[in-house]
Symmetry: C2
């Protein structure tokens, strides 16, 4: 186990002590990657990482042991197909040294239902919650290496976004623009995470599926795209138009730009996530578009493209140095167009620093 | 809802009646795709499909409603980020008409832990099990359209396998061979599901990660590969060697070929899956290699590359017409080589029909 992983495990145990957690149970997920640098073969065979104050080890299908052994030196409790996982799980729980009568356990919220209920049925007295104040909390505070990786990923994404807008011409489909962006990622060693391209009224659906709609004069264009490089993703939204901007475009763009600025100004160490959401929302509500801002203001970004902290109206997460999240207010006008402006920021040296170097100006094409 | 989906829903309700199931709860998964032709944006926002005898509808994040509406006409119970899903879930459960005091519910075993516990905490009196005798059972019995799709996928995979063996030359890496196979899939409109290439002793790890090992004279070669086309996957393993076969290769290959034949002969309507496992295992045990056969004999194949029925020593699933599964005995000799031969079969007209047209003969190269 390398120094980074040793630090993460020690930090986790400190958080477990602070939150009176006896046992953390992690499935094959980004949490496992973060804690043990292991991305096991993911299928219906239970794989679990269990961590207590005194022990850390894996429940592992026997036929994955040799391959997984190359990635971690934590102990394995293997189980064979013919036996099932029950006995090995009992041994692993015994090794963790927890008091089984009423342990306080943390479950990986992304774990499969069958893994989850295997654990809960084996520890029927357990009280349980998810990872947000343990593993999720640790992951939300990025170290310098993670900051560097996220910054590089964001800057590459700026160039991909520029390539997407450069591809616009009359009659091109949303899918063709997305392909241009995906090809750019691939040519630069990155892997597409998602790429949403919306022309005209399609932009009014926040989760529109990029399709065969063709670009026409007067269309608004929204591109929300991200890719992964060196293990860390990007995520950014910019907007523009082809030919003449549709009526109201400039006004909506300006409201959103001010909403982003207000949220960034609010995002400081010690501020609640809900206050950042409110800062963006207040600008939009004051402009009369409150009902058209259909979603939360943002989400954390790290190994996962959605992770802690979530920037919502109800989140009492207190922002800290190293937290990375999106600020992405949107206004959606059914039948006309929808705009969203999205930055990824990191709380650093007491302020919210934007990772992208690309202006939020609307891109005029044609 | 088209005729296929109407039939599936009616079949599910018949199975629910036969198994005294009040409610089936499905997350974003291949089960949802099978039942509703919907693959929603998958993230931490709860999406659930609930089916009772009298009702079927979705819990859906508000910002996905417009996009999802294009794929299904089942009713939605939308929830906004600012509110959370609790109220909408209550309304959906009320609409299902179930008696909440002690319902018998089926949970999608692949669903996230947070979705699972949201359901269980909302229905604290529920008894629960997974989908194997409801949705899983229905999915295991393929219709003619699914048979045709799986057959086409298997035949394409035969050609991909041939391309992989054709790429072998001294010094080539496992990864380069896998790339040749992946490129073949892509050129033929298929999407790689997985591709495992093992040279020499690497084959003795059933889940070896394809890597930088280079092919040398006297190496055994194992290729286990599959791709998806028109929605259905393939999965096949063949073996060979470069130059001279390693000592014992011919004997092991012959044992495995007889094990496959024995399992195929056993696989008939009315046979238990455990008997098919035993038929293959007995051949290997009789030859003295029982401890070297480290895994179950097979797994179902359909929309998922691993699904019901599982061919294990403990499975009492009774085989029926239309069931599709792998038969893949292996013998793993640490430090020397490992071989596995894998066919996908369908129970059809009373026998197990092999989908591949490729012989299981060892491929001699060089």
């Amino acid at each position: 186990m390398n120094a980074t992983l040793q630090t993460r495990l020690a930090n986790l145990r400190a958080r477990m002590a602070a939150t009176a957690t006896d046992l953390v149970v992690i499935g094959p997920s980004s949490h496992m990657l973060y804690l043990a640098d292991l991305s096991p073969h993911g299928d219906e065979r239970p794989v679990l990482l269990m961590i207590s104050q005194s022990f850390a080890g894996f429940l592992m299908p026997a036929l994955n042991v040799d391959s997984a052994r190359q990635h971690t030196d934590l102990p394995f409790f293997p189980w064979a197909d013919a036996d099932g996982p029950a006995d090995a799980l009992e041994q692993l729980i015994a090794a963790t040294g927890i008091d089984r009568t009423a342990p306080s356990i943390v479950l990986d919220e992304t774990m499969r239902a069958d893994f989850t209920l295997l654990v809960l049925d084996t520890l029927p007295g357990a009280s349980r919650r998810f990872t947000n104040d343990t593993v999720g909390y640790l992951r939300s505070r990025k170290d310098n290496a993670e900051y560097d990786a996220l910054k590089k990923s964001a800057v590459l994404n700026d160039a991909a976004m520029a390539a997407g807008f450069a591809a616009l011409r009359p009659g091109i489909t949303e899918r063709e623009v997305a392909t241009a962006i995906r090809d750019f990622y691939k040519a630069n060693g990155a892997t597409t995470e998602f790429c949403s391209v919306c022309f005209g009224p399609n932009g009014a659906f926040p989760h529109h599926h990029t399709g065969e709609t063709r670009l026409a004069e007067g269309d608004a264009v929204l591109i929300d795209t991200g890719a992964r490089i060196h293990g860390y993703p990007s995520d950014m939204t910019r907007v523009g138009f082809y030919g003449t901007a549709p009526e109201g475009f400039g006004q909506i763009h300006s409201i959103l730009d001010r909403a982003v600025e207000a949220a960034i100004a609010a995002a400081k160490p010690g501020t609640r996530a809900s206050e950042v959401d409110k800062a963006a929302r207040d600008v939009i509500t004051a402009a009369g578009y409150g009902p058209n801002f259909l979603h939360r203001t943002g989400h954390g970004l790290g190994i996962d493209i959605h992770e802690t902290p979530y920037i919502t109206a109800t989140s009492d997460t207190v922002l800290e140095e190293g937290m990375v999240f999106s600020i992405e207010p949107g206004i959606y006008l059914q039948g006309r167009f929808g705009l969203r402006l999205e930055e990824i920021v990191i709380i650093r040296n007491g302020v919210a620093e934007i990772l992208s170097d690309m202006p939020r100006t609307a891109v005029a094409v044609g």
